[in-house]
Amino acid sequence: MIGDVFDFEKPIAEVENLIRELKSPQRHEEALREGIDLSAKIAELEEELHQVMVRVYKNLSPWEKTQIARHKDRPYSLDCIRLIFDDFFELNGDRLAANDEAIVGGPALLENRPVMVIGQQKGRDIKERQRRNFGSAHAEGFRKALRLAQLAERFHMPLITFVDTAGAAADLHAEELGVSEAIAHNLREFSLLKTPIIVTIIGEGGSGGALGLAVGDHVSMLEHSIYSVISPEGCAAILWHDKSRASEAAKSLCLTASNALALGVIDDILPEPLGGAHRDPVTMAETIKTSLLTSLNKLDSFPSIDILIETRYQRLRRMGEYAERTPCEENGNDG
């Protein structure tokens, strides 16, 4: 059994338990003794499992996706780095104040090509989670990321970022060291960085903290990841003074990958293995790697770095939806 079972996963867990039961040594011996062939039954159940998983995972609600995006077994940045790159060499510290372990990064090889990788890292066990502040970076983390991004720029290495955070840290220390300034600084400097930037949202894309690593030339989201201006819980608390209505809020916020694609915020969606990335991190990593190579290929073909940067700016400039009243109407209304 993998991790906790969510409500929507119960039908899957039921069939999985049946299969596990039939495959158990006792059942096997029993069957041998009584001369029954269980393999047909198992095959039948496995087919049913597949059907149930397709049904459940192709119809996930935004709130269910939120839960998967936060799944404790979901591949984190360091898992992706380990599975996708070779020779990753972690670098530490912002050269100003501290080393924030909520963000990891360093040079690595992507199919023999040197790149710079930066990602938000949540942590697996309680100790690691505390050390990494559950993936919520302080100013130091964003400044370390900027330091590495500018190092990449100087050595003509493409920058690859993995986004996975509930949001930036919002405690006293964060405020003292200027987490807002650090995020704003990254938004501006990433928009000007003279090297290609590829962003993949692998889990939670939580608000400004996510955006601090998410300005780039090509932005992808994993199928069940989320990207939002505020957490569904926070939104529900503000709108209805009721955190338990998070599922409703998740729907209203349009935080799924397909929402983000429709809104023009991301460029593509990377399909997850059936049942979510946590069930098959290796296949997930292969998909991400293929996507990174394709994006890199596309960005390499830009005629100049200036054109790449201007295209990046125009990409951001298009973000947003608004009405433009014609001047004639304007006169009418203002008169």
């Binding site: 006293l172 995020i183 928009s191 709108l239 009405a323 014609t326």
Partner: protein
């Protein structure tokens, strides 16, 4: 108790003072001092007793900041839609428009300050908490691009709770968009001044508001990343009294100067003179 009507209006914590009726007296939201409206207005809504800076509406701010009659609005024709079909959003927009008589939470335009031309933008907290959605972001980026094209200094007065939840991800993206435009100003050597007024928090503080070449702030303004309410404060940590105020931010190096309201216009005028960008030989 004939006169009780004058005093019956109770100040509500987060309501901006822009709604104070055109009565004869009003009350300071901090020290509760009864103030003559005339004196209060003459003092740009700064309490004559305790110095508390009450919120100004966008047009009140423009009036005390630019040369009389010089403000020319830009991009007022850009208006909000409801891209997410978010619950109650159209009604909230309508209410905000009725209450503030503004077309959105920021007004931008050109003006003169001591005869020097500038691009200016002023947020209005009364319009959905001054929150930044697609229109606010677009007006800011266009204002910056106007400053870029005409090489005019850009001055933004912030007053905002942050990104506008009702436009979801699109609001989040306005942080990146406005910051990228600020990057263009920086690259091209066009002066960008931010004046942080009460409140400046969340996605606005974590984007363009933190990117001014020069950052001024009004005393006592709430300035911070996540509001005290939103922040996940560690249990047992004693927050300083001035946590998330302009004074706190100045102590930590995030603000150049905290200036009382009436000193802001002269300070901007001086900065425009000092940073006029012409080479010494051209002067």
């Amino acid at each position: 108790m004939v006169r009780s009507g004058w005093f019956s209006r109770k100040p509500t914590g987060d309501k901006s003072s822009t709604n104070i009726p055109a009565g004869i007296v009003t009350k300071c939201l901090r020290c509760n001092e009864i103030l003559f409206v005339k004196d209060f207005e003459r003092n740009a809504k700064v309490c004559t007793k305790c110095g508390f800076h009450h919120k100004l509406s966008a047009y009140e701010r423009i009036e005390i900041t630019v040369d009389e009659g010089s403000f020319q609005p830009l991009n007022e024709h850009i208006l909000s839609k409801d891209p997410l079909h978010f619950p109650e959003y159209p009604a909230k927009l309508e209410k905000a428009q009725t209450n503030t008589r503004l077309s959105e939470a920021i007004i931008t335009g050109t003006a003169f300050i001591d005869n020097r031309p500038v691009v200016i933008g002023v947020s209005d907290f009364g319009y959905m908490g001054g929150s930044m959605g697609s229109v606010v972001g677009e007006r800011i980026s266009r204002a910056m691009e106007y400053g870029l094209a005409h090489r005019l200094p850009v001055i933004l007065f912030t007053a905002s709770g942050g990104a506008r939840m009702q436009e979801g991800l699109l609001s989040l993206m306005q942080m990146a968009k406005t910051s990228a435009s600020a990057g263009k100003l920086r690259e091209e050597g066009v002066l960008f001044i931010c004046v942080l007024t009460d409140p400046t928090t969340g996605g606005v503080y974590a984007s363009y508001a933190s990117l001014g070449d020069i950052i001024l702030a009004e005393p006592g303004a709430i300035v911070g990343f996540a509001g005290r309410r939103v922040g996940n404060q560690d249990a047992g940590v004693n927050l300083p009294d001035n946590f998330q105020t302009s004074e706190f931010q100045a102590e930590h190096g995030m603000v150049d100067r905290i200036l009382p309201r009436k000193e802001i216009r002269p300070a901007i005028a001086l900065l425009l003179k000092l940073f006029d960008g012409r080479r010494h030989n051209d002067r």
